[in-house]
Subunit: 315 residues, 6 copies
């Protein structure tokens, strides 16, 4: 297990060596890893600001600033409890969304079937559908805990195409991959295309918590709400960086003014204890729009590390 | 009225076509439009970071991310209630502030006389004076609702020049364009040139609400305060992006550390129901300082869209 | 015809108004225009740096710096000889290359069938194939004059996909859209995937002039070479910005160190008189990689304006 | 005393002239100045994002936006109470941390011995140790009031080196420069290297207030806490920009997601009345990561100006 | 004279201290200086990309990389032959071009009357007219040696305004400040507004050398041409950065694709020996468009240093 | 040997996976590799623009655009002739130049002793000295072929420190690591600190070819000159990116205006056949100053690939 410990940044400066996620071993074969972090560099499904294909490596580059112990969860040392690896990236075929989705499904399946929790780094939000297809085959339909400024439950986009970054969570219900009655979408806000933009999620069976409602609930209230909702169901956790305010996450595809700060959103995530995550993704990081400080990528890496801590707490 | 509907971004990707405000028709003759969005690309009056001349097109470019329905105002579809057009830009003469102001006054007058509410995109804050000159001729003296980190009521700048981005709201009182007793300035903060920087506004008759006071009042309290203040008077709404914290609005001329977040400021604006806006501007967006994410321009566009919703509510 | 004259930048500052190509009228119906400039905002076919979807508007934004008279071609006033319009953008479907190509083919056909020379702004190089499909239907097989650091005659990319930014000029031969024996590729350089990267073009029948050979020939020699090659055939002119050195064109998908300077390449293009251009494109401009000076977009606009002058000379 | 008044930005535009701190006189000999602002352009001690050597001039460049009167402290005009100068920069020797530290110690000593309060602009946090060495010789051991996301009390870094940006406040205790029992560290957060990252500070005798605790205390509670802690001891105030959230301070060496906003942190500082500051620094500003808006440098300048006001209140 | 020696960058790192031009003394009173470098931070006259107000300090910041000895002119140590100072900036009044021009005229006069050669850093090209007004009073009409992509001899701009960055060299002839028959404009290129854009300069009496002609002449030929032209007349040397290709100078107001490289242009300047320069400027540097490497500002500083060497050769 | 083939970018998109140099295997143990590419992320020795510590990974990130076959050297497939690996980075100790140099010496020695040609990616130019120390122990004193705008043969920097980025090639002579009579420095230009800046190299025994002389010689002449100079001696090849003009290489520590273009410099390197390279480095790439196009890093990668081709030609 020793080889899965990250490089110690007190010993070797962070800028030394090619950056893997949290300086973890970079492997093709995940062996008996508990969690496999992997990239899904696909932005084929994105209707606007392209560039999320560079998200996984941008997150890796900033993740080297993170340290192994999480003081918000009782000083758990994630890497003493979990074997974590960086499993590299799924292949994709730029310009061919359906083929990219197939690749991502196969990669997720390979990791999940090896017994690891796949923790995917996007890529645009179209990646969640193939992830869910792979995971539902292993675990059955899942509860979805979904942070996002948008519901991503539209029926189709441009010319009626049914697969894009705006449709995965409608498809997931239609394909029986998630249990909407045990699922929750958090953080919706901003102007709407149709009056039904929110209600279409409710009609599918999801619970929706807007940004204003999430702030009003507070981290503890939100944690309680989520625990009640997912109650016993295995969980897929999907985090779209655009749920955060553009001040904290300028590097996304579809920024939406008026979101929670990074501190508010991290507090919410840290309150999400009490259920079992069998798959997760952190998506829509686009370094081309992120400025020299790369604050979006750093926040994405931090969210991924918080998810690791949530998983570690259950082991 | 059909032609005034924006291009549908679920049908045609946002990056297709030259960006007009919210993808609305771009017209010279505003016809029977209810609201005419227009640009005032003047930065002649700006004492420091120049570049607001590129503000109108920067706001247009980000406004294409906005959608027609506003869930914060009862799911009003702005474009079903209002005919809105993008009326292009006022001419300006760089280097000649007074001539630029004349152009802006004529453009505003043309729009207002056609029966449209002019909704101007700046440009530095010197543009508000010619707007008010045009509007006061049509509507008589107006109540001013003014969001800004600074009062912009200095008497003169450099060498005694009386017209600049720092003086419009003193001139507006002197010229009888606004009713200071029915007007309110919101968001002042930061260090001062003279002890009188705030009191000079009070002496002119304005009410002043500092950033700290606005936060303490909360959106509902502030909304009530404004409604009481403007009581029955027709309103000119002027929004300087620097009222927001530089984290949310780095792309301005005179950033002032320690302001409200984008979420806080949007909540305040959404509470400003109950009075009639006959003219408005959103000024001091400077894309040269805004970073690749262009979060300032997106916020400016969002503020403009919220103003549209406030107007729509009254129709 | 008066309405097709660009806005005069000596009268109205360049930053006033929404930027169309060279401040020309922006029309849906091209009427009796001689040349229709239009955008093809597709980057689905791009194997690496995505973002060319923003190319057309980036070129428009910089094209406003150009003036109507070309002193390199006898002071021809392009707009006195030609009716030129900005015909807007072709629709595209992000993530679905084949559907985007269909849209581009239809748009090109519409313009060509109206009698205009389509002058397309990319977008990645996959757009040239649908353009050629449309044009060959109107004009028959064309001579290709192609500036690029790469031949773009590979057989397939990723997983055997036959359509991408790397394959259009093989497909064009296979589909009989171009006459390779009357066609020429100019500017190839840099390292190769396979020994056959260049020879595959020769085998298809193209003539290939490397960057070093083009520099050695000089503008006049190259002009002569091209004239001899295309001899009497109608020409499709395709210009990939990556033919220029990255110092002059950093904002491209696949930069290749060691190319001609902007001055060298413009001199070459200015020497390309003596044949009839019935279609043209300027592709692979990617503003996300172009820096604040946007020198790539300005160069792309300048190349497009030089093409307009070449067309004007024949009228 | 007249010469120490800053240039009046209502008279001469801010962009005129070489920027010194708040447009103050730039002197080598501080004479009878009460406060000497000076730069410590050393980033030798920084384990990650280098560039803080450019911090002092970046802060100066933004500080010209500040004005002399502080409305949060009873409209005190700082420059009527205090003679303040910009004393230039300490020499440093890049690549030789220990020699750079010697230079900084000598510069600080020269200023302090002349009777001025040294207010240093970093540079990375390794500069605080030589400052404290100089100040403790003049004033005896000091109380430390330290804002930072990290404790900077590690024992050593890379290869056992004992001097770096991560170790100054352990060394300061060991060398008897501070009184840990009268000292307080505020703002710690984020993941940890070792379980002891926080407790090592407690073991040294410091009080630690995490970011979450500081937010919960609020400005008044925190001010009270600090006053009780430092009780009568002369204070060294050290402010690391990374205590603020990366949205408000992207331009730092080691950003830590989830911090207070600029408004929250400024409110805290403004509450820190009631004790005597004999030395201060504002460190870890790195303009290379700060984006075109330079919001980090502006915030650093604002913090320094608030410290000036705190000092002025005691005169 | 010792105090006019620049700070030695082998002794004190370049990033230490506030940057003055070449680290020279920064003075208000130029005393008996031979050359006074000064800033003219005016961009009021600029028709397009604003921001040249930040040019002088941007040039200073990069000039610290320059060293005192010029190996292209016989290893002359400029500062052993000439007393050179940085005389700070002329005041300007943003938004009021005519008043800014008055300030610049007064500042130039003050320097010239003190016996120094004024070497001005712009600012947009409108600054040359007030400089020439001041210099012609001292020296009589001057020969103009002018490097630029544009002639700047238009009659008026926007609404007929006769003063702007596009008109100074027509006004200079009309006002009798230059001797056009002894003057030369070098580097013109690019598209034209009117057929007369070049011929208007010829009609005024100027000689015009286009970019292509200058390249063909080569440095020696050009040097000879200029010497013959100015023959015995005292010279004002005006250098607009846009004469260089945008690859080498992206940070300008009106970039023109296809210019000489930095090496070519420096070789030309180094050949300009044999006449007496009594005033000079280096204008149109705009750091907002210059990218992180600030290559335009560095080139501007290098050009200014070459001018210093040309002056030193005559002493 | 198969495992040393780079990932095929026609099969897997370049943005998939963590980028190693040219997508080669990333190994700790170089086994029987012929060439070991490795990083030296040290910028401790840099007197000005810091950030070269991020150079190695920046070069790797751009190197993925390169392809295996070099058409300038007879279509040699580098990876069929040579086993090449990416050996990761040498450790360094930021702030402690001498310790960093020790690490680099040990790393270079380990690679050279394993039989590989070390091809190092900097890092600032101080890294060449420890490389030469390691290589001279294996191979004896070497001929130096050194491209740079500066000689880097000063005696000391700041406070007399003898080790920095400005002194390695004086130390190398003093320590007997190079044979100056068989060595050549190419590309010197720009202003000088002392008259002796160039002559100090001549006195040490080096041959010096200035930029102007190198351009005049042309690639073939320069190749001949170098071959004659090194005549039979084993060669260390050191390439400082600042030898190229800042237009082509803005991302360096000490840019020097007026250098060769990328095309000119690559042509020179391609002519350097006919001698045996036993070690090489490509230094001073600083991505923090390189702009979004990262053209400097791409050029650095291209230079490294050309060096690989030169080595491959001899096998």
């Amino acid at each position: 297990m020793q080889t899965q410990m990250p490089v110690d940044s007190l010993g070797v400066p962070r800028f030394v060596g090619v950056p893997t996620f949290m300086r973890l071993p970079y492997v093709r074969d995940v062996g008996d890893a508990d969690v496999a972090v992997f990239g899904m560099p696909s932005d084929c499904g994105g209707p606007y600001r392209t560039g999320a294909r560079f998200g996984p490596n941008a997150i890796r580059a900033q993740s080297i600033m993170l340290r192994p112990i999480n003081p918000y969860q009782g000083n758990v040392n994630v890497f003493e409890r979990l074997r974590v690896v960086d499993a590299g990236d799924s292949p994709v075929v730029p310009g061919y969304l359906l083929r990219s989705m197939d690749h991502i499904e196969r990669t997720t399946a390979r990791l999940a079937e090896a017994g690891a929790v796949p923790l995917g780094l996007g890529g645009d939000h179209s990646v969640s559908l193939p992830e869910l297809r792979a995971l539902a085959r292993v675990h059955g339909p899942l509860a979805l805990v979904h942070f996002d400024a948008h519901t991503d439950t539209w029926d189709s986009y441009f010319d009626g195409e049914r697969y894009s970054a705006g449709t995965p969570f409608r498809r997931a219900v239609e394909e029986g991959l998630v249990v909407p009655e045990r699922s929750i979408q958090i953080g919706m806000r901003g102007s709407l295309f149709r009056e039904s933009d929110i209600s279409q999620s409710l009609e599918l069976g999801y619970q929706v918590v807007t940004t204003d409602e999430a702030i009003a609930l507070g981290p503890d209230g939100l944690g309680q709400r989520v625990r009640e909702r997912v109650a016993g169901q295995r969980v897929f956790f999907s985090f779209d960086l655009d749920v955060v305010d553009p001040a904290s996450a300028p590097g996304v595809q579809t920024p939406e003014a008026g979101g929670p700060t990074a501190r508010e959103i991290l507090s919410m995530i840290r309150a999400l204890t009490g259920f079992e995550i069998v798959g997760a993704d952190v998506v829509e990081t686009n370094p081309l729009y992120d400025g020299p400080g790369q604050v979006t990528a750093l926040l994405a890496a931090t969210v991924a590390a918080e998810v690791l801590a949530l998983i570690a707490l259950r082991r």
